[in-house]
């Protein structure tokens, strides 16, 4: 019976061939290096391809688009940060009381977002960053709000609380409004206080 010779065991992820995986790694590596030493804006797809010793087509096959590649690069630091939220030391990690965790979360998120601003912008709304980062932060904040006894539409409230920490809004406030970071942080804490009804 000429059934599909390579039976699709786990359906969704059609497993990556060995050379493909190797290339993905090499590309990611090269991209990371180039971004670090030249800045996001000066890294072209062709340069990444060359640095990894592959053709340009390969970059796009592995990462879909520039945004996709940048998202992948970003994922690196992002996962580290997520880990420190999930299992790092308090007050960011578990152990502190919810309110302190929330404040620590806000400050930490604000800081890392600013640090990776360029990369985040370059990653656009695509790739795992968008969906991954968003759902993680949203879930976490939602959880903390729950612990703090907030009632209402938690998913939406969480998003509202996260919104001022997103790049586009931060940029607005810093460049157009001219607010210093410290003021933004204080403002965010105030917002959290009002939302949680403290």
């Amino acid at each position: 019976m000429p059934e599909p010779l390579l039976l699709p065991v786990a359906d969704q992820p059609p497993v990556e061939r060995a050379d493909a995986a190797r290339n993905r790694e090499a590309l990611l590596c090269a991209a990371r290096r180039l971004v670090e030493e030249r800045g996001v804006g000066c890294v072209t797809m062709e340069a990444v391809a060359a640095a990894a010793g592959v053709g340009k087509g390969t970059v796009f096959r592995r990462f879909e688009s520039r945004e996709g590649l940048m998202a992948a690069v970003l994922d690196f630091s992002e996962s580290a940060w997520q880990a420190s939220v999930i299992s790092g030391p308090p007050p960011l990690g578990p152990g502190a009381d919810p309110w302190e965790r929330l404040i620590a979360f806000g400050r930490s998120r604000l800081e890392t977002t600013l640090v990776h601003a360029d990369l985040i912008r370059a990653a656009g709304a695509t790739g795992s960053r968008a969906v991954g980062a968003y759902s993680f932060t949203a879930m976490h904040v939602q959880h903390l709000l729950g612990q703090l006894g907030v009632d209402g539409d938690l998913p939406v409230l969480a998003t509202a609380l996260l919104a001022p920490l997103e790049i586009p809004i931060l940029e607005q406030q810093m460049s157009l409004g001219g607010f210093p970071v410290e003021r933004l942080m204080a403002g965010w804490e105030d917002l959290a206080r009002r939302i949680t009804g403290r």
Copy 2:
């Protein structure tokens, strides 16, 4: 005395030559038309130039960049909206009590933002839209918050209240979160209630 022949009377705006103004108008017109009939994504700078009967260079000289051009196109509807906030009928315009105005503002802003979503995205953070729209909405909300007796860092609070109405955040919620518009609006109202301490 070879002083500057064209004395710089009002300093900043070096006045536009007649033909330049004509071209600007023609370009804006063409851009508006093309955007309407093909959608933002399918309008190239070259097409706009051709439709207006000028060279590509001219488009860029008048509008700086694609973002700049799109911002200019957007300005059209944006000003109309601003006018209806400043001097239109209540509850959006003056006359209603601050709370009702605030709610009407939120709903109206949400709606118009969604209607022009593509254009806003294409206009990026550049041009008059960004600075103009931002400062207008921020000022207005700030003003209403003041009237409602809110105390605290009003400029920052206003931004926080506006953030969930910005395209990137709306997109997150709608596409990733899957929330329907009505829920977002309800959530925003709730947020406003908490911020104003109602």
